[in-house]
Symmetry: C2
Subunit: 879 residues, 2 copies
């Protein structure tokens, strides 16, 4: 167990700052995550009261003051601090220890009535809101009334006397609403505040944040109790936040915000305009120098950019917290690369290794710099929660039906709803972007949009929807108006902003090149690509082959569909053969284009997988037409075929190799087209590397049969003369063709030993494997159930985004072991969407896979994640 596990990030860092770095940190103590977990399982732990008393006594001794003292009281802050930073998600109580007596002591000891009562009224309202669960509105309202009565604009201008009255009003409000007086005993106050922090761990905001950030709900939070220092004491005091480097750009220059005579919440609330570090230098030159010195020590210690909170109390600098700072994608890349060169000089110089640099960059960072962005932004109309990243531009529609209709007409749609439900899915599916006025980060809209990669902003509560228009303040947006959404920041902008393709910074390639070195020979990255265009993009982005080339898209193109239908409708072998031949010609062209693009790299072609009814018209549409207008002979035939091929559960129906069994000749046709394409591009001097993949096998016998079809065609092709390359080009030889299968049913995973007898490679189809292992039809549950399941904690992750390590993952490990036991040389890969997910990639590496394959745009992320998996596993192994 690490220190962070027990003390939380904040507590651990405070301990380090104080004991290792010897920075000026106010004394305090930390209540461990153990206590929080005990609380979650069985209520307030009895032993905690005694332990807290002991700690408070010790703190009082160190500070020479006592909590609640009527002369010179000790005040403390109570803050949450989880292992992983969850900014703004949990609760904080400041100025704890004030009561009707100690507030006077504070006034006397500081000689500042106004300060004392300002602190007290802040404490009462914070305590009321956070510990007692009252609506903050009541305190806000009284504050505004007081300001009006006192005829002042600013909180800081309210006279002491008015603040004193305000404290009374606040206390009455609490007594009235809770039926109990505001607690005067500081020990009771402390216990209440600690419990509130514990509780806040399971608050809806915190849960939603953890779901999104994939943090375990089991961890619990630590609680930091720290002696208060006051930036609002006088004009020789102040408070601020500081970054050791620029968190937005990555520039190696400290950066910060600062307010004179203020407490931390004022900086965050944005009520007064903050000043920058230059102003600090002008106003507090000595402290500015001290702070920069601390920044340097922090960076040297953590070997990373830190963000800090500091307070100046009557000319003395206190560090309230520090942590490795969050940063933008561009900044993360720049800092990681920069820090590989030494920072500082001489003995105090420090740097990180290339491996450390790789570990510093998160997949989300790459994602950010890869998404298209707005060429130029304009001030936001309003802001919501950034639920699904990316920029979207389109015309506004308010119902899923209208949106779907508009999309059919070719319009770019932004779907605006108060919230979404499974009824809206057809509209969400075609939307360029989604905006909702209600709901959080695991609302239906958020989960579904992220699943599809559609930019989305949710919970934009300033948006008031009224039929076919919405308003934000005075601005009214009507159906058809243009709107631009930045799903990465949550900004909603009026009008049709221009999108630019992303231009990743130069450090992007540096990190990826370093990553490639690390993972070379250990975990390759391929792409899923069905067209030459996708293949080109994949190669550009660093793919080392195609792990999944689906052939169904070649069947669905408008000019092929009639031929495919003729094949399905064929009533004689001759008709069927004629259709096969037509398809062979067009498939050959498609294959040739892809093989040309991928010359010299492997291309795994999956033989036809989807059920045949996907190529037929919809039954209900034809039935309605039949009932209303009557059908042509051709449509009658199609309707009959649609009925024959209709399936109750297509996911579990006549797909994959089963199609091969019921339509003998289909797979042979595809293999012939593919091998003829290979010959053709060979003769032009390209180097096609073909791998043939049989989908959905569940028994050894199926695979043996399908393999025999493929081998029959291969042996026929091999009996032809080898095509000659053009003059001056290297001699072409037909290479041995790998034949493999997908592992996408639980049975295939369990019987991998048998399948390995007839397979040169396995490719895990983790999408279907997840569907069948859970019994989750993605089409059905992802929109209906997943949001509810994630919010209720019934699932910790969406298993379609991140592989379910305990269930589906066990099948992957097991299949890899059983397969390799029979055939050591068995090549293993994954071509489900999990192939582009960092955490899943880590597991695939540990399971011994040779490659991952993902969509072309995820290739850079997969390259990085693969390297991280290699580094992370090596670390664990040497531990």
């Amino acid at each position: 167990m690490e220190l962070k596990d027990l003390l939380g990030g904040k507590g651990a860092n405070l301990a380090e700052m104080m004991s290792v770095l010897q920075l000026p940190v106010p004394h305090g103590f930390t209540i461990t995550t153990d206590a929080c977990r005990a609380y979650m399982h069985g209520g307030w732990p009895k032993a905690l009261d005694d332990e807290m008393s002991r700690q408070v006594a010790s703190l009082e001794k160190k500070m020479g003051r006592k909590l609640g003292d009527a002369d010179d009281p000790l005040l403390v802050s109570v803050r949450s601090g989880a292992k992983f930073s969850m900014p703004g998600m949990m609760d904080t109580v400041l100025n704890l220890g004030l009561n009707d007596k100690s507030v006077e002591g504070l006034a006397r000891s500081t000689g500042n009535d106004r300060f004392a009562y300002d602190s007290y009224r802040r404490f009462i309202s914070m305590y009321g809101r956070i510990v007692l669960g009252l609506d903050g509105e009541v305190f806000e309202h009284e504050l505004e009334k007081a300001k009006t009565n006192a005829n002042v604009q600013n909180d800081a201008e309210i006279p002491a006397e008015v603040l004193k009255q305000l404290c009374q009003v606040y206390k009455s409000a609490i007594a009235q609403q809770t039926g109990k007086p505001f607690p005067q005993d500081p020990a009771k106050q402390l216990r209440g505040a600690v419990e509130a922090v514990f509780r806040s761990w399971n608050g809806p905001r915190a849960i939603a944040y953890r779901v999104r950030e994939k943090i375990s709900h089991e961890l619990g939070t630590a609680v930091n109790v720290q002696a208060m220092v006051f930036g609002n004491r006088d004009d020789n005091s102040g408070t601020g936040v500081g970054f050791t480097r620029n968190a937005a750009t990555g520039d190696a220059k400290p950066y910060g915000d600062f307010l004179v005579n203020a407490q931390g919440e004022d900086v965050v609330a944005g009520i007064r305009n903050t000043e920058d570090l230059n102003a600090l230098k002008r106003k507090f030159p000595v402290i500015h120098a001290e702070l920069l010195g601390i920044f340097a020590r922090l960076e040297r210690h953590y070997k990373d950019m830190c963000d800090t909170e500091f307070t100046i109390e009557q000319g003395k600098l206190w560090m309230l917290q520090t942590r490795v700072g969050k940063r933008t994608g561009a900044a993360a890349l720049k800092m990681a690369v920069d820090m590989v060169s030494p920072t500082g000089t001489g003995r105090s110089a420090w740097k990180i290794s290339k491996n450390e640099a790789i570990m510093r960059v998160a997949a989300d960072h790459l994602d950010q710099v890869l998404h298209p962005q707005f060429a130029k932004k304009i001030p936001a109309l309003t802001k919501g929660l950034a639920a699904s990243p990316g920029a979207a531009v389109g015309q506004v529609f308010f119902t899923a039906d209208d949106a779907a209709l508009a999309a059919v007409k070719g319009l770019d749609v932004i779907l605006v709803r108060s919230e979404t439900s499974p009824e809206d899915v057809h509209g969400m599916m075609i939307a360029k972007g989604i905006l909702t006025s209600r709901g959080g980060l695991v609302s239906h809209a958020a989960v579904v949009a992220r699943g599809w990669g559609t930019p989305a902003i949710v919970g934009a509560d300033a948006v008031k929807i009224d039929g076919a228009s919405f308003s934000v303040g005075d601005v009214v947006v009507r159906e058809g108006d243009w709107l631009s959404l930045d799903g990465t920041t949550g900004e909603v902008m009026l009008g049709q902003l221009t999108l630019t393709a992303s231009k990743p910074p130069k450090e992007f390639n540096t990190i990826l090149e370093w990553s490639d070195v690390v993972r070379k020979g250990k975990l390759a990255v391929r792409a899923n690509a069905d067209t030459d265009e996708d293949a080109r993009k994949a190669r550009e982005l660093g793919a080392e082959g195609i792990g999944l080339c689906r052939t169904e898209h070649m069947f669905l193109a408008a000019d092929r569909l009639p031929v495919v239908r003729r094949m399905i409708l064929a009533s004689t072998p001759e008709e069927e053969y004629a259709a096969f031949e037509e398809l062979r010609t067009v498939q050959k062209k498609d294959f040739a284009a892809i093989l040309k693009e991928m010359s010299g790299l492997p291309v795994t072609v999956r033989l036809l997988d989807p059920p045949l009814h996907e190529f037929l018209p919809r039954i209900d549409e034809l039935e309605i037409e039949k009932a209303t207008k009557g059908l042509s002979k051709e449509d009658e035939d199609l309707l009959r075929a649609a009925h024959v091929w209709a399936e109750v559960n297509p996911m579990l129906g006549t797909r994959g190799v089963r199609l091969g069994v019921v339509k003998p000749g289909l797979y042979a046709m595809q293999v012939r087209a593919l091998m003829e394409a290979a010959d053709e591009v060979s003769s032009k001097g390209y180097e096609p590397i073909v791998e043939i993949m049989i989908p959905l096998t569940v028994t050894r016998e199926e695979l043996a049969l399908a393999r025999s079809w493929v081998e029959a065609v291969l042996s026929d092709i091999n009996s032809r003369p080898v095509p000659k390359a053009k003059k001056g080009q290297k001699v072409v030889k037909r290479p041995k063709i790998s034949i493999g299968t997908m592992i996408e049913t639980p049975r295939a995973a369990l019987r991998a030993d048998e399948l390995a007898e007839y397979a040169d490679f396995f490719s895990f189809g983790t999408n279907d494997l997840t569907q069948m292992t859970f019994g989750f039809s993605r089409d059905d549950v992802e929109s209906r159930l997943m949001p509810a399941y994630l919010e209720a904690g019934l699932l910790k992750r969406n298993p379609f985004e991140t592989i379910d390590q305990n269930g589906v993952g066990e099948l992957v490990f097991l299949a890899a072991q059983r397969g390799r036991k029979v055939k050591r040389s068995l090549k293993l890969g994954v071509c489900g969407e999990h192939g582009g997910d960092p955490e899943s990639i880590d597991m695939f590496y540990r399971a011994g896979l040779n490659y991952v394959s993902c969509s072309p745009y995820r290739v850079p992320i997969a390259r990085l994640s693969a390297a991280q998996a290699v580094i992370g596993t090596a670390k664990t192994e040497t531990k």
Copy 2:
């Protein structure tokens, strides 16, 4: 390896008859199954030629004659003999060794020209058909022509000269059709015949038989080469088949058929009328006595009823083969019980143990005596293959559409098709019986009908279908005519025969009582029952509880459906609650009726499982009505709801506990209804034992949540006073209620350890587990793919009938282990249809399950199979 594995059943028995029992068996040798397996994998084994030469030489020495000898030739028979008897499924060649020279030697040595040439023409035609693959028609045709020319009726009357000519004609026909002369070299003849027997192992008839009888395709057959003896030598010769007891009734009296001056094929072919053993006694009193003595020795040796083939050659008795005989269900029961009492007297008396008696009865035997039967049969119109057992009576329809329509009108339908395809499934589903004129035992019709338990006869090739009528010879049967099918025998009978409920013989109960003793405390048998009627039947048939009471049927009744729909359509919590309350009242009544029937026995109630759209009207029907006539407000609402709840793959959709999550309150309502029902029947003096089962859980969190709903209701119910039973009845106490879950997804099986934390019992839902493990939607693949898969050997069994031991079975074992590791007391059961399948029951017992649950009518079979599993496992363990 047993002797039978290597020599086949026939070979092993011949060896035993000769060496152990010292019966008069013609000399010979057996080519092992090893050789056949080698042949199947790599063609004719080289070493086999030498080995055969050696064996032939040894046989020639023993017999003092040589194959092909021109003076006194040795002739041999070549017969298949697999480990498990496959009567009539593989090939036999008799009289081998005859050629143009040896036939004359035979004539001379026997002094019987006619006999020699009759044997030769039989050999040539058999060899032509079986070894050379010619159509038998050509030989039949020439035989008929010869009879006409010779002006005789009977084969036996054809003069020698004509037979001699016939041999020439036969040989010319062979030379013409194969391009090669009929082989004269006996060694070549022998090799050809042996190879033909090897090949016949993979003939379509044999494969189909093995699929049905669940015999492995891998075993291969042995080949028995035996010196010929001739029952057709003269009138002091003959041939017959004999049973040591009556195979139809089980009576302990020998029984047989016999023909003077004939070869075995004549007995089977039914050309001449056979005589019985009394005739044998009259004509060959000494031989009759010898035969009865042999029967007694055989029974004592095999401790079972044997069937034998014997031949008398010039007054000497030869035993050609023996095997433990096939028998009817009634006979099997009677013999098993009879043999527990001693047969014979003194030192030669023998008997079997009760355990052996139990092992002697097969599930199919019980099935036979349980099926309804015809009160009185009439001569069959024609006969086909008995594809699915049982008697069916109905009116004939020729298309699936017509059949479905007739069934809607309330008619009993017999569907008659030349063959069936997935297009016919809606008609097959409602048919009482199915008759096809084409197809074999694994044809579409056969597989689908067996899956549903619908009586079926297939391949009745005398049936000529012509539009809306069929004819058999001169008899014409028209649409709407009555027809009666006996699926157990393959008999098709005209008219509406009377069905009687089966009346099992008294031995039925004896065997089951013995079985119950054996399995007591080891493997219990429950039934799946959803109504009080089913429950009553189950109890009558010996069920020890209900393992699965589905609650969806309670929702589908005509008077409940509108309420269920109101629940689904509810737009406010109040509306929903009102619907829940209505449902609670009716469910309570249903539960009370079932609990009353099962008083004192456990009843496992599964909370609602099917997706909600199953309770809504079909979308396409409403859409058509909307397009043509318009919809009422109510139907509009239903249509909208149907769209909302529609699912792409309902099997993997919002079912089971997922429903509980999206419709909170639903499960609580059901539990409340159930517990109130329990209280009600308690107060009437019954003893309800309730177990509550949560369907389709995949995560621990789901089960914990669902369990908390159930426990909340239980604790509410428990806070009420315990209902008082009537006076004089024992005091009723509310017992602790078990709460468990189904294991029906691969993930639930894998994470059984986690689920066990919140479950008191697991019930394996092996139907769904099979669907998800294979990725087989039963609705889709069982009719479309299964026949093709079984026939092609892609699957050895239909995994929905017999559990897939290697895939699904591994998950069952694994879940049982993991669950019990966490909770030793975890009760385990199975409620899929496999719970009534003998082979599956054996696996469930080995996996450590406490009970199996099956449909009420399968309960007797499950009781027997459970005992057999216990006995069989104990045997294996002591080996």
